[in-house]
Amino acid sequence: MATFNLKINGKNHQVDVDPDTPVLWVLRDHARLVGTKYGCGIGQCGACTVHLDGVAMRSCSVPVSKAADKSITTIEGLSEKGDHPLQKAWLEHDVPQCGYCQAGQIMNAASLLNNNPNPSDAEIAAAMEGNLCRCGTYLRIKAAIKTAAAKMK
């Protein structure tokens, strides 16, 4: 066990955890931010996607020791009122079915649009390939990303 000072969504959190604790479980069990989801634990499904210094990372595969000096953004912190252009586009296109993967999808898409504000269909698919949707909402996710990109121009 060790003490870590983390910056999550602009706020400071102090946690006492093993240094190998994945950021995912620090978020869910200690910071009580459960928007970031557990799907596989091995970085294969993308449900745990957060931003570390603005870059999309699979939080199940980042030990807290590596995140201590970084700024962590979770789905709860993407916007104050849930009104980021991606979140609005997600609602406009009625994307979710079960909804479990969607926070990870949105966080990954936000990182994509930060790097590439006008992605082609192929670039969207390539960037989002690591985010599984078991319910098959891929077409709507693509449409929502394109809508958000257009609004964010």
């Binding site: 066990m1 955890v17 093993d18 604790t21 994945p22 479980w25 869910r28 069990d29 200690h30 009580r32 931010l33 459960v34 928007g35 970031t36 989801k37 557990y38 799907g39 596989c40 634990g41 091995i42 294969q44 499904c45 449900a47 979770t74 789905i75 709860e76 849930g82 979140q87 997600w90 609602l91 009625d94 979710p96 079915q97 079960c98 909804g99 479990y100 993967c101 969607q102 926070a103 949105i106 269909d121 192929a122 969207i124 698919a125 390539a126 989002m128 390939e129 690591g130 985010n131 599984l132 949707c133 078991r134 319910c135 098959g136 909402t137 891929y138 077409l139 709507r140 996710i141 693509k142």
Partner: protein
């Protein structure tokens, strides 16, 4: 005008304040937001009045409608309340939806499965809304001393047109609860529907995209401990002994022990499928600490029954198909003679492997069991069955057990089998503390309850004029055959034989989205394509001719389909896809299938991309009667299509000596963004028939539609799933 007899008991006036609400978990709010398109914030009432258990009306006219059924992503949480709201006659923007917990005094069939929620709930939901509306009218009539027959409603307002008097539902809600429930109520004429049939956004949408706590895995409560299990690594194995010494002293660990969630004398139900009732359990304070301890635990296993491998399964299924069963499932005419005298006989064999469900949210459940009561919260498709098993296993009466269903990160049939709820309860009872049981992905994927492995042989006999004179299907599968003997083409062929074989196995199986149909439609509709080709007929024309036979001069009895509706969807997809018009580089396949009471026909466009076939577009025509929520409906159909393509193309669960060879998504392949079709267009037949379900029907035929198109593109047929291991895909 439709009049329906009401079946509610008289309910006395109940007042419930906004702040109250049983079973609220810390950090959880069961009040989901209103429709996300609403611009202004909804002002909550200061008082609620419970009208009939299905809905509450606030003093300011805001309405809370309970959604009775478990939500697995099929969006009944939006469509079921829409039906209530329609008959209640309120503005949907003034509706809040709440998930109802298990309550068999108010609700029937609180179950997610079989694509039946809307079909079986249709009348009851309409009645709930209509009854409440009637009670509000009675209250206004009494207040004004005017006959009810002179009153009407308009979206939450009661009007006396003669005098111009109006009053809002909120103002009479208090009195309405005391009205006598009428014996009969009027239902709206569907042509007057204002809510049903309108594309409506998911009621949980805003909460989902904001990352609010919604899922079972998100449950948190005071004093809650985390429980994780270790189950045998192979089917046929059982817990023998365990060395917990090293683990018990690990940081954050409270206890390590074994449980048996199926004691000797317990009352087994169909939902109690569980290959591994005896488990090692690690109890800890946080998930990561418990997970590390679980991985450190040393367990010894004993082998109890043969350890099976996939090669064994294939061999056994193949052997089964070599012989006829003692009794056929169905026989019309003289199939042997038909095949003997045929001008052409076509015979093909199809197969598909075991599949895991892989809901993205793994199995989990929260339980707090004390000597007085058991409180359970979590993702389960069958809460009523879970409660019944708990009565037996915990030794507690039913009225002491409460179950609240959380939103589920996927169901697909996996959560019909609530063993994880039983396990959580048994653990909580043993340690006398609230517990959240969490399965890892590996625990989940290797636990069983799989879609069975299947193999089927089809034979068709054509006469010299290319008429279909004989049809024979013989199917085999783990714990049961995939064949539906009375489905099409039964009834269209004079000489017909359907046969079933069941393979024994210690690998547990269960319902997986569109059970049996999810495989047999692939085989049947692929076979039809070959028979049509052998007969020199267009595949749509070939099917339509058979439907015509079923309509005018059907063979036999118990033909389990409506040939007119079946032909109807096929004609619709033919029209919408411009079938028959060739486009350069585009190769097409077509299918039609009927399951879970709904008719579906599909056309797929495949193009070659770097010498590999790729699905470009899917057209899907659907006949499910009245479409309650077109927005959710299209999403379901698109999702089912992506699901069906994904699994038939990529997925399989194989076994070596009883062990699943895949335990996470590195080895078990699921369809990803780039592999989904570029476009899926959906069309509904409009016929005003009472609605049927959509969760499953679009999945079964899509693998055949794709396979039929790939045949056109490559000249190669696909007979075995997953396609990614077959020549037409490998190249």
């Amino acid at each position: 005008m439709t009049v329906i007899k009401t079946t509610f008991n008289r309910r006395s006036f109940l007042k419930a304040s906004v702040a109250a609400g049983g079973g609220l978990m810390l950090g959880f709010s069961w009040l989901t937001s209103c429709t996300p398109t609403q611009e202004e914030a909804m002002i909550l009432p200061s008082e609620w009045f419970d009208i009939n258990g299905f809905l509450k009306i606030g003093d300011n006219g805001i309405v809370t409608i309970m959604s009775p059924n478990p939500e697995i992503g099929q969006n009944v949480k939006t469509s079921m309340p829409m039906i209530v709201a329609e008959e209640l006659d309120v503005d949907w923007k003034k509706v809040i939806v709440e998930q109802a917990g298990l309550d068999t005094k108010i609700f029937t069939r609180q179950l997610a499965g079989g694509s039946q929620s809307i079909r079986q709930g249709w009348q009851g939901l309409r009645m709930a809304g209509a009854t409440a509306r009637r009670m509000l009218l009675e209250a206004a009539a009494q207040k004004w001393q005017i006959p009810v027959s002179e009153l009407s409603t308009d979206e939450g307002l009661i009007e006396h047109k003669k005098s111009g008097k109006t009053i809002g539902y909120g103002e009479v809600a208090s009195a309405a609860g005391a009205m006598i429930v009428p014996k009969e109520v009027e239902l709206k004429n569907p042509k007057d529907f204002k809510i049903i049939g309108q594309p409506t956004k998911n009621v949980d949408g805003a909460n989902i995209v904001a990352g609010k706590p919604l899922f079972g895995l998100d449950t948190q409560g005071p004093g809650m401990l985390i429980a994780m299990i270790v189950h045998p690594p192979a089917f046929g194995m059982k817990l023998k002994s365990m060395n917990a010494d090293a683990v018990k002293s690990m940081p954050g660990i409270k206890d390590v022990f074994t449980i048996n969630s199926q004691p000797e004398d317990f009352d087994r139900q169909w939902s109690d499928v569980n290959a591994f009732p005896e488990l090692a359990v690690v109890l800890g304070e946080t998930t990561w600490q418990t997970l590390k301890a679980k991985r450190t635990l040393k367990v010894e296993w004993a082998t109890e029954s043969p350890l099976e491998s996939s090669a064994d399964h294939t061999k056994e299924l193949t052997n089964l198909l070599q012989k006829a069963p003692r009794e056929p499932a169905r026989r019309d005419g003289d199939p042997e003679a038909a095949f003997k005298n045929a001008a052409k006989v076509i015979e093909r064999t199809y197969s598909a492997p075991f599949l895991a469900h892989n809901t993205l949210e793994p199995m989990n459940f929260y339980a707090q069991v004390t000597p007085e009561k058991a409180e359970l919260v979590g993702p389960v498709q069958t809460p009523e069955f879970l409660r019944k098993t708990l009565v037996s296993v915990l030794g507690m009466p039913e009225d002491k057990i409460s179950i609240m269903m959380t939103r589920m990160g996927g169901g697909f049939g996996r959560r019909l089998y609530g063993h994880f709820g039983v396990e959580a309860a048994v653990i909580s009872q043993k340690v006398n503390a609230p517990v959240k049981l969490v399965y890892t992905r590996e625990d989940d994927m290797t636990q069983g309850t799989y879609r069975p492995a299947y193999r089927v042989t089809y034979r068709a006999a054509l006469d010299k004029d290319n008429n279909l004179i004989g049809f024979h299907v013989r199917g085999a599968g783990t714990h049961g055959s995939p064949v539906f003997a009375n489905r099409y083409p039964a009834g269209t062929v004079d000489n017909y034989l359907a046969e079933n074989h069941s393979q024994e196995s210690n690998i547990s199986t269960g319902a997986w989205r569109a059970p049996r149909s999810n495989f047999i439609a692939f085989a049947e509709q692929g076979f039809f394509d070959e028979v049509a080709e052998a007969a020199g007929k267009d595949p749509i024309e070939f099917r339509l001719q058979l439907f015509e036979r079923a309509l005018t001069n059907p063979v036999g009895k118990d033909n389990d389909y409506d040939a007119a509706r079946y032909a109807g969807v096929l004609k619709l997809v033919r029209e919408k896809s411009n079938w028959g018009v060739e486009k350069a580089g585009v190769h097409r396949g077509v299918t039609a299938y009927f399951c879970h009471n709904t008719y579906v026909a599909q056309v797929v466009d495949v193009v070659m991309d770097n010498n590999r076939p790729r699905v470009q577009k899917v057209w899907c025509a659907v006949d499910c009667g009245i479409v309650v929520n077109p927005e959710g409906a299209v999403n379901q159909i698109q999702g089912a299509i992506v699901d069906g393509i994904g699994h038939s193309m990529f997925s399989e669960l194989t076994f070596k000596n009883g062990r699943p060879e895949q335990e996470n998504f590195d080895k078990y392949r699921l369809i990803r963004h780039s592999e989904a079709p570029k476009e899926i267009e959906v069309f509904f037949v409009e016929n005003g028939i009472d609605p049927t379900g959509l969760g499953e029907p679009a999945l079964p035929p899509i693998s055949a539609t794709v396979a039929n198109a790939i045949y056109k593109a490559t000249g190669e047929r696909l007979y075995h799933q997953p396609f990614v291991k077959q020549k037409p895909i490998l190249g």
